[in-house]
Subunit: 320 residues, 2 copies
C-alpha cells in the first residue's frame, strides 16, 4: 500500500475535504491506487443511509436531490451527494449542469457534493460506486445520496450500491409505462411522481400501482409506496422522507439489510473482474494487431469471428 493513499485515507477520516475529494478520484480512476485505497479503508462500516435517486432525464432528480439535502440538513445531519454523470461514449465528456443547480448548498460545510463520471470500461461504475460510498462513510457522512443522470447501465450500479432506491417519474411521462420499459420498476423501493402540480398525476399513480402489483417487489414484504412531490417548492418532501425512513426500518427489521450487504460484495467483485477484462480487451482493440485484423475484415479476407479468435489468441500470448 502506497503511503500517499494511506495518508489520504487518514486525512479523509479526520474530515479533510480536499483529501476526501482526492480519494474519490483515486477510486474513480481504478487500477493499483484504487486497490490500495480499498485495502487502507478496511471493511465497510455500513452505517450510513444510502439513498439512490434515479429516473429519466428531465424528471427533476437534481431538484429532488436539492430538496432532500435541505431535509437532512434541517435535522443537523451532514450529507454527501454523489452525482453519477454519463460519460459520452464518443467524447468522454461529463456535464456538470446538475452541480450548478445545487449551488444553494455549496457554502454549507455539512454538505459535500461530487460528480462522478462513468468510465467506459464495463464494470467500472459497478466497482467504483460502492468504493466511493465507502470513502464517504469513512469521512463520517451519515447520509449519502446517489443521484444518476440518464437511464441504463448506471441504474444497475446505483441500485446495487444503495439501501433505498427512489425512482422519479413525472405525470403523464409515458403514463409510467416508460418506467417499466426502462427496467426501473424492479429496482425502485419508493416511487416519486415529481412535478405533481401538472396534469395526469392520478393516471400516473394508477399505472405505477397497477404495474407494481404485477411485478416482483424488490423486497418481498415491502410494497413500494408512490409519493407525489413538487421538488422545487418542497411539496411532498416530508412525506417522501418518512417513506425513506420507513424503508430503512424495514431493511433492518426484515434482515434484508444483511442480504443487500452480501449482494454488494458480489457486485463489487464482479465489477472488478469485468473492468479488468474489458480494460484488457480495450488495450487489444487499440493496437496494431487489431487494426490489421479489422482491415482484413473490411477487405473480406477474414470474418469477424475469425478476427476475434486471432485477437484473443494474441491477448493470451501477451498475458503469459
Amino acid at each position: 500500500v502506497t503511503s500517499r493513499v494511506v495518508e489520504l485515507v487518514d486525512a479523509t477520516r479526520r474530515g479533510d475535504r480536499v483529501a476526501l475529494a482526492r480519494l474519490l478520484s483515486v477510486v474513480e480512476n481504478g487500477g493499483r491506487d484504487a486497490r490500495d485505497a480499498v485495502a487502507a479503508l478496511g471493511p465497510l462500516a455500513a452505517v450510513a443511509g444510502i439513498v439512490g435517486i434515479t429516473g429519466a432525464p428531465g424528471a427533476g432528480k437534481s431538484s429532488l436531490t436539492a430538496a432532500l439535502i435541505a431535509r437532512v440538513r434541517a435535522t443537523g445531519d451532514r450529507v454527501a451527494v454523489l452525482a453519477i454523470d454519463p460519460t459520452s461514449a464518443f467524447t468522454g465528456g461529463a456535464i456538470l449542469g446538475d452541480r450548478v443547480r445545487m449551488q444553494a448548498h455549496d457554502t454549507d460545510d455539512g454538505v459535500f457534493i461530487r460528480s462522478m463520471a462513468t468510465r467506459g470500461h464495463h464494470g467500472g461504475l459497478t466497482r467504483a460506486t460502492p468504493q466511493a460510498v465507502a470513502v464517504l462513510e469513512a469521512a463520517g457522512y451519515p447520509w449519502v445520496l446517489l443521484e444518476t443522470v440518464g437511464v441504463g447501465q448506471v441504474e444497475v450500479a446505483v441500485a446495487g450500491a444503495a439501501d433505498t432506491v427512489l425512482v422519479v417519474v413525472n405525470p403523464g411521462w409515458g403514463d409510467g409505462v416508460q418506467a417499466n420499459k426502462a427496467g426501473l420498476l424492479e429496482i425502485g423501493d419508493v416511487f416519486v411522481v415529481n412535478k405533481a402540480d401538472r396534469d395526469g398525476v392520478a393516471e400516473t399513480r394508477r399505472d405505477l400501482e397497477a404495474m407494481l402489483t404485477l411485478s416482483r417487489a424488490r423486497g418481498e414484504d415491502w410494497q413500494p409506496p408512490v409519493i407525489e412531490t413538487v421538488a422545487i417548492n418542497g411539496r411532498g418532501i416530508e412525506e417522501l422522507w418518512r417513506a425513506i425512513e420507513s424503508h430503512r426500518e424495514h431493511l433492518a427489521a426484515s434482515g434484508e439489510q444483511a442480504r443487500r450487504v452480501e449482494a454488494r460484495a458480489r457486485q463489487e467483485v464482479r465489477g472488478i473482474v469485468l473492468e479488468q477484462l474489458t480494460a484488457e480487451a480495450d488495450i487489444a482493440c487499440a493496437g496494431p494487431k487489431f487494426e490489421e485484423l479489422a482491415a482484413r475484415v473490411v477487405a473480406r479476407e477474414l470474418d469477424p469471428y475469425a478476427a476475434a479468435d486471432e485477437l484473443r489468441g494474441a491477448m493470451q500470448k501477451g498475458a503469459q
Copy 2:
C-alpha cells in the same frame, strides 16, 4: 457450418419471412450458430439504407418510426424495422408495447417488424445489431429502421450500425440540454423536434443549434439539420425524409460511407471479443468458487480485489 443455419440463410434470401425471423433469433442469441450464420451470409452488401432512431423514453420514437414506414411504403419500397428493446438487468424481460403501436403495418407484406432484446453480456448488442442488419439486407430490404428504446449503451450499438442517426427530442424536454447530457449530440446526423405542436419548439431548436455549433459534428462537412415533426399526424415527415436522403447523398459523395463500413467492422470484432470475455466472467461469477469468495469478502477475510484475483486465476486455469 451447420446445414440448418445454411438452410435458414438460403430461405431468407428467397424471401421466406419465417426463416428470416428464425435467422434473426440465431444472431441475437449469439454463440456457435451466430458464428455459422455470419459465415453463411458472407460479406455485407452494404446497399440498404440504415436509419437509426434514438432519443429519450416518451419522445415519440415509435410514432416517428410508424410515420417513416408509411413514407417508405408510399414509394413502393419494402422496409424492415428492428426495435431494440431494453432488457431489464433484473428480470430479463422485454416490453413489446412498441410493436403494438405499429400494428397498422402488421398486415403489409412489404413491412417486417422485429423486436430485439438487448442481451446482458457487454458487447452482445454491439455484435448482434450489425449482424441483424446483415440478415435483413440478405432478405432484400432496401431500408432498415433501427429504433431504440431508452438511452444508454444501446445508442452506441445503433450509432455504430446505422448510416443516418435521428435523435428525437421534444419541445421543452429539458431544453435540449438533456440530449447533450445523454451523449446524443455527438451521434446525431439529423435532429427531430417531435410533438412540435407543443409549446417551446423555438427554444428547443435554439438550444440544439447552439450546442451543435459548439460540439464536434459527426461527419466533418455535415451540419446536422433540426427538423420539426408531429409524427402522429404526419407533419414534417416529408421534410425529415428529404433530410435523410440528403445525408445519404453526403455519405456517398464525401467518402464517409466507406469510413463507416470500416468503423462497423471494428465495432463488430470488438463486440464479439467483449461478449466472449464477459460471458466467461458471468459463468465464473455464477459458480461455487465465486460464492465462496464473496462470502469471505462479507466475512472480511478477503478484500474484493484479492477475491477478483483468485477468481481470475480459477478462470484461466479452467480455460487451459
